[in-house]
Symmetry: D2
Subunit: 291 residues, 4 copies
């Protein structure tokens, strides 16, 4: 390891890799980087003992004179030859993000204010909504707003429009910030980008609609929120982050909804941050989060 | 309110009441106590706005010259005339408790050590187990141990023996301290005492067997434990207390089990404490906990 | 208790009272309300056993035909005759709030967005700042912005201007939303309104300047935030709410600052909410929070 | 990395190292292990960006044919040549632990029950106390109990006796499980083993005596506990673990003490576990915990 510097001729790369465990993997990947003149900033490994899978996140600066893309490409080839599944990202690249919203605005404002304060290394390239309620707010933030209404009949066409828009804008991540429509298996199958959703319960408890009402009826003493990647099975995708808050019999459904807003904001914000920092590795229906 | 004193001629009563809301209930119950020479130590109310139900826990000292039982009985009659469902307990009474265990000993030791340190106002009158593993430990604590084996065939007879034992000992509360048998609807129907169970998940997630394995498979980021009253529907009774702990991809199932032990101990210990202090009011399938 | 209704002829009152404990206080206050035709919505008592002080928050609807102010005034007189220190508020009244800010905007946006979403029963009548950085943001929210610069030399004059402004606007609460100036004992002595401050540490640890740097240097494993009423002794006023977040050696000072922002927002937001709902009773240098 | 196996000819080593950062450290240490036939099980790095210090915990199996001690010794020499400060432990070695107690027994029972359940890889070789209160309990656990009374006058002699006992028994860790004496700078200077203490507050708040009383007086809304290495400056040593619990105005000092017992047990238990697993690296007055 060595100091990161901001010399223009240096670039920082992040690799996420996983594959069958074998002796010497740490030595081999770190050795390759060292031999190629790179300096490791962070290296974090995990080994699933039962499944005998090796996971690694490795972040390093590629030195002057070396082309960034070539280094990333070469490392990818090297790690693939070790049997690894590899993704390499240039840390300087700003992920292109579209935020899908409906009428609730708490996650919307929260994400954008964090982004404006410099917390997120990304560009927000579109606010997409099936309602016009947040149009003025988006414009206030000087963010392009796209109104794509959705009804039972128009849903296929609306999703096609959403996909076309995302493709045109080069979207690399969609965040469902309390977007109140289920994205179809067809949409998710065609999407070339991951989709992060915030569900307002501690999954797998209270999947589906009106989770705060379900929680109130059951009389639970904690409510939760879950950020996960959307998959065709509703509320069943890989979980990135979860948190809970204590409630009592004194809390009405409305109180749960209000308290839940804070949970939703914080859990979604953390999940997005980890994703943008290339800290989340999807593995089966689970995640490995290198935090 | 007025200072509690330890004068022999005074006794402390605790009433838990609930019923249809109506004007003046707080004034009426507190007025009755004041007029009858009692001093309120604590009074806590809750009102379910939607169901229009009034809940109250009221603790007071009945003064010298008044027989305790008569005061409790009179108050009960008074509150019933207001349409309330009422339970009155003498705070000095030590609840008679039986602890059901199998082989896991962490909740067993935890409950008994808290009891020995004076945390619990109760008498532990029996340790009941389907295995002999904890017999020596119980004897070390000088607690009577009853070995009642349970197999699929002998379960009805075993439960009959458990019920007979509890009846003989005047048991007023059974605590399932990781007792690894499901008590049948028949047992629970015949029992004259409540049963508190500790389930090793954040219910309603992962009800049933092997919840830590279920949690590991699902890839949740928090594990939980739930203390609830046992009802004929497995893991569905009124929840008294819940808590969670953070886990990551680094935790194996064994780690979840180990971390979960702390959760189970703390959640069960808190639920038992609230129950023994007459702080838990069951209402439908939920609880009102006056903490 | 009885249903709250929105009939124009009804008003809801909230009383906070405390004073020397004596027998019959609950009966007397609830009896007075019942006899005067009021319906208690919530009543919560606390008794400091050592100091023999009685505390109560009582919320009730005063019925048709009775003037609100007269009922509040009469109750106040009644409770004062019982030796109590009493404040009575009309729940319909919207507290007039001034928010003091400097350059940090996270608590500023957070409070205003909660207010806009209907969480807070108040009017925000002024944003006051020693810098112009948040002027445009305040205007975006259509909130009046007052720039009152502060230097070592001009501080007395600046505070006089702040006080004059607050007086003119009828301010009833000042919130220091990461306002980076210490309000002088002179200001606090003259202020006719309480001042809530958010300190970015778990007080009493790390009082004074740069608490995140202090926390990093000390190597604590949790960072905190504390909302308290400002008093002439810096960071020593009655604490309303505190919370913490876990940190590790991996977190730099900058990470602590970023993570701390979420703590500061949530802790301050909760404290403000309790204050506006008349749930906070100051007693000596401590608070009783009827939540 | 490769599967750990239990072959007699294999041993698992754990190295904790830190020193000035330089390029290639990860590659060098992992490369050395690979070249020497070892398989890395876990490797975790940290880099203090400001101080430019590199920290690493690395756990590996040394293969058959290689002497364990020789491998550990060779790696130590290798890493020292890189400028690192290194400790290498054989994971199979059971740390020899002495527990110092006075009269409080909650941490004492908690540690021993965890140890008996297999949570801790250590041998408890002595219970040392200035009182006889826990003698019978220690004997029940079949643990040798040493009564070394301490008064102001006898303290130097008592500490000499404690040191002599620890030396005779080959003690490698002393745990102060609510031992109510301050160990002198002289004792700590002569001790060849680290000492872990549990302080019953969220340090640096409420250092010194009666922290729960201090917390109650200050009116904090959270109480805490801190496990740290003892150093000559009271309550100022490197913090290993901390946690907090929520309290309200309803909690008396006695309630804080009771609630605090759970905190103390859990925080101390976690700190001891990390220490025994060679996960804690002391660095200045702080710790790096590789969890």
């Amino acid at each position: 390891m060595s100091s990161a510097n901001t010399n223009n001729t240096e670039t920082t790369l992040v690799a996420l890799l996983h594959g069958p465990d074998q002796p010497g993997l740490v030595a081999k990947t770190s050795g390759w980087i060292y031999e190629n003149g790179g300096n490791i900033l962070h290296a974090d490994q995990h080994r699933d003992m039962q499944a005998e899978i090796f996971f690694q996140r490795i972040e390093w600066t590629a030195t002057a004179g070396k082309g960034l893309s070539s280094d990333g490409t070469l490392f990818k080839r090297f790690a693939e030859n070790l049997g690894m599944n590899v993704r390499v990202a240039n840390a300087a690249h700003r992920t292109r993000v579209a935020i899908f919203v409906s009428k609730f605005d708490h996650c919307f404002h929260d994400l954008i204010l964090r982004w404006k304060s410099g917390d997120y290394h990304c560009d927000i390239v579109a606010i997409v909504s099936n309602h016009r309620d947040l149009e003025a707010a988006a414009q206030n933030y000087e963010l392009p707003f796209h109104h794509i209404p959705v009804t039972a009949e128009t849903k296929p066409a609306a999703e096609a429009a959403q996909l076309a828009l995302c493709e045109k804008l080069g979207v690399e991540l969609v965040i469902m910030a309390r977007y109140m429509q289920v994205l179809s298996a067809d949409f998710l199958g065609k999407a070339t980008f991951p989709v992060i959703n915030i569900h307002h319960s501690f999954l797998p408890a209270f999947a589906g609609g009106k989770p705060y009402h379900q929680a109130h009826t059951r009389g639970v003493k904690l409510i939760g929120a879950t950020a996960h990647y959307a998959t065709p099975v509703l509320d069943d995708g890989p979980i990135i982050q979860q948190d809970v808050a204590r409630v009592t019999h004194r809390h009405s459904v409305e109180d749960l909804i209000r308290k839940g807003r804070d949970l939703e904001k914080i859990v979604l914000a953390q999940a997005v941050r980890w994703h943008l920092d290339h800290r989340v590795l999807i593995y089966g229906n689970k995640t490995v989060v290198f935090d």
